[in-house]
Symmetry: C2
Subunit: 193 residues, 2 copies
DNA sequence: GTCTATAAAGCGATAGAC
DNA sequence: GTCTATCGCTTTATAGAC
């Protein structure tokens, strides 16, 4: 699942773009760098993505969307209680972030902010990703008996608090923001029981 | 406070940089654009900031730091109860964001993420800004009787949740993430009373 | 302090052979 | 589908007159 050796050219390009934009953002990521990292030529990049860098960014954001949604689904099922699951989720994010040398934060946030108000297609893809993640969280809460509207509201804050804490943890190179966020989200969820 | 007419050249440059990087981020903001917006020449920009774009970004982040800290101090004093103040704060942020046509999010987040792991001076300035904002929130909580460690933890989540909600609101062009965040933060704070 | 001109490098994108 | 060469433009930064 991590090896890129047997992947098709198109998939290698998308993964390289996703990874580079996660670490450096949209503007600082060059097409030359992408083609190098993907072991593809510039001609191949434009063959698969005639829309150029913007079209590439949309594909990368969608890739990050699926990646994080899968992580969420997996980690939210590791505890019986969804409140407890928040703590596990935040811990896992802190671990991954620190293991990457504080380089791999949210795969789409930087690109989302850079494109906000300036690249509608990319912005829409990012918006859809956040909505997708909220849907995963809301479904988990409903499965544990929370009412639909309460679950929907909580899903907003769960995703947004994790986003803010991940950003803060990355900038301060500290796990604390995420660990505190996990505990507070658990407490907030419990307050609705 | 909004007029730039009587300001010195250096201050005009800092404000133009701060505003441009708030809207477009670090990488997409050009020095030519900054000098134009600041009604200064490129020579003047390098005269005041010999370190170039990176030094300019540090000054802009510090400017955004003070700007948002002043906003926080002001809005947190508008309600007697700090929990109620969170709702007011989130509403005010939602109003400002929507009034700007969803362009003016957090003044430093995009730049902070873009520079994370690649421009230590800018990253440090952003880290100091977040710590500053947490200190303002923690002081307000302690003033209402919260214990120091509880207030410090809550300050983390208050700032990070507002950050995440502001980002999400900007991308989705909706006030909902911020309004929900305000209510949930109030509830979380109340749970410690 | 201000201004213009320009250097040096990098960018996204395209063309066209294979 | 892949590859190389290159166009046209923009970028940060510097030089030097005023």
């Amino acid at each position: 699942m991590t090896t890129t050796h047997e992947l098709g050219t198109r998939e290698r390009i998308v993964r390289a773009t996703s990874r580079l934009m996660q670490r450096r953002g949209y503007e600082a990521t060059g097409l030359k760098q992408i083609s190098q990292e993907a072991r593809a030529t510039l001609g191949s990049v434009y063959h698969f993505f005639p829309g150029g860098k913007a079209e590439l960014a949309v594909a990368a954001v969608r890739h990050g969307d699926e990646e994080f949604a899968a992580f969420l689904r997996e980690v939210l099922d590791e505890a019986d209680d969804p409140a407890q699951a928040m703590i596990v989720c935040a811990e896992r994010l802190a671990q991954g972030l620190s293991d990457s040398g504080w380089l791999d934060g949210c795969p789409i946030t930087t690109t989302a902010l850079e494109s906000s108000g300036r690249a509608p297609d990319i912005q829409r893809a990012a918006d859809e990703a956040f909505a997708h993640w909220r849907a995963v969280v809301a479904a988990r809460l409903r499965r544990s008996g929370f009412a639909g509207d309460v679950a929907a509201d909580l899903a907003h804050t769960v995703v947004n608090t994790l986003e803010g804490a991940e950003m803060s943890a990355q900038v301060s190179q500290s796990r604390t923001p995420l660990l505190v966020a996990g505990r507070h989200l658990a407490r907030l969820i419990d307050s609705y029981r």
